[in-house]
Amino acid sequence: MMKDITIVILAGGKSSRIGQDKGLISVNGKPMVQHLIDIAKVLKLNTIIIANNSDYESFNIPVYEDDYKEIGPLGGIHAGFKNTQTSKIFVLSCDTPFITAGLIKYIIEASNLYDITIPRHGSKTHPLIGIYTRDIVKPLLNTISHKKLKVMTLIDNLNSSIVDVTELFSSEIFENINTQKDLYAKVQLKSFGIISDRINKVDMTLSIPNKKQVNLRNYFNDKWPFLKDISYTIAIDQEIREELNKNEHPNEIAILPPFAGG
């Protein structure tokens, strides 16, 4: 059953909010699209990428352009079928880098009787994490010609299954990255005393990756190794603490050397 499936990574979308091609942005140390390629390798599934940017060719995976550009994911799904021979394709959007092999397997196993099978987690359905059979190509083209460009419209009109995975998988694996703000906290860094002497700046702007919780002491010690030998205190928005929470966007972070008032 697994052999008759190709993974189709959709990377054709515009990334105007990020200003860089989304799938190429690094998350936790590697491009988002690489996360998905690695999962496909674990599952031993053939993979192609649908993109209109030749930079994706560096991943050693076949890259195809879509015929229907500027119409959103339906064009990518169409290109997925056009450039594969398997009877099913598993569609993944390049901006969901936390998807797991377990989820993909689960959806594949639940997909037997349906044209389209996608997951729902809580109240959110995810049409771009799902399995589509070749039988839908005709209705897909029909939908496109009628300018109905929402994937959910197609799903609603076909023999589709929306499997509830709320209890089985954590919501975090469905998270998608849409903006630089999702990846970095851009904060004003204030340093004082001996530390600003050594950094050579009093005020600077830092982009700290905050896709997961960050221990700022470790982060600063890596960035400026001399800090390891200095006793200092960290204040986030003037509150003394060291853990920058996931997705937290404070206005300022201060590095305070030993106090010497009085």
């Binding site: 004082f192 204040a235 003037q238 030993p258 106090f259 010497a260 008032g261 009085g262």
Partner: protein, 142 residues
């Protein structure tokens, strides 16, 4: 929030005026004053001629505010003032002026010690000890 920083040294005139302002408050029976003075330390055979104070001023003003609140909660005071220098203060000049007042002496004696210790530990103020040859080291409170 009260601003506690004063540019440069705190002058004897400023301190004298501050005392004079309290003469109308006749419920007060005892004042206690702490004055921090820039000491001319000898470090590696070099003499400190001044301290250049800097601070995270907003955070320090908040710290002074919290110290005030804690002090008023713990001690029965009529009033209290904290002034700290920012910028250059020469050796021998005053850089910290804490002034507490109460009806009786025991209160102010205990309060002044508490306030000064709290300032040393909790106010993000930094001191650059400057030598005659313009080199410097950063002061650390003991």
């Amino acid at each position: 929030m009260k601003k506690c920083f004063k540019e440069g040294a705190i002058t004897p005139e400023f301190i004298a005026n501050s005392i004079a302002h309290h003469q109308v408050k006749t419920n007060i029976g005892a004042h206690q004053i702490f004055l921090g003075q820039v000491r001319s330390d000898i470090i590696d055979n070099k003499e400190v001629v001044a301290i250049d104070y800097s601070a995270h001023e907003e955070m320090a003003n908040k710290a002074f505010h919290t110290i005030r609140e804690n002090t008023f909660n713990q001690f029965d005071l009529a009033c209290m003032h904290i002034y700290h220098s920012i910028g250059l203060v020469k050796a021998g000049e005053i850089c910290l002026f804490v002034f507490v007042s109460s009806a009786h002496r025991k209160m102010v004696q205990q309060a002044i010690e508490f306030v000064v210790e709290e300032i040393k530990v909790n106010a993000p103020v930094f001191g650059k000890e400057i030598f005659k040859d313009d080199s410097h080291v950063w002061k650390v409170n003991k």
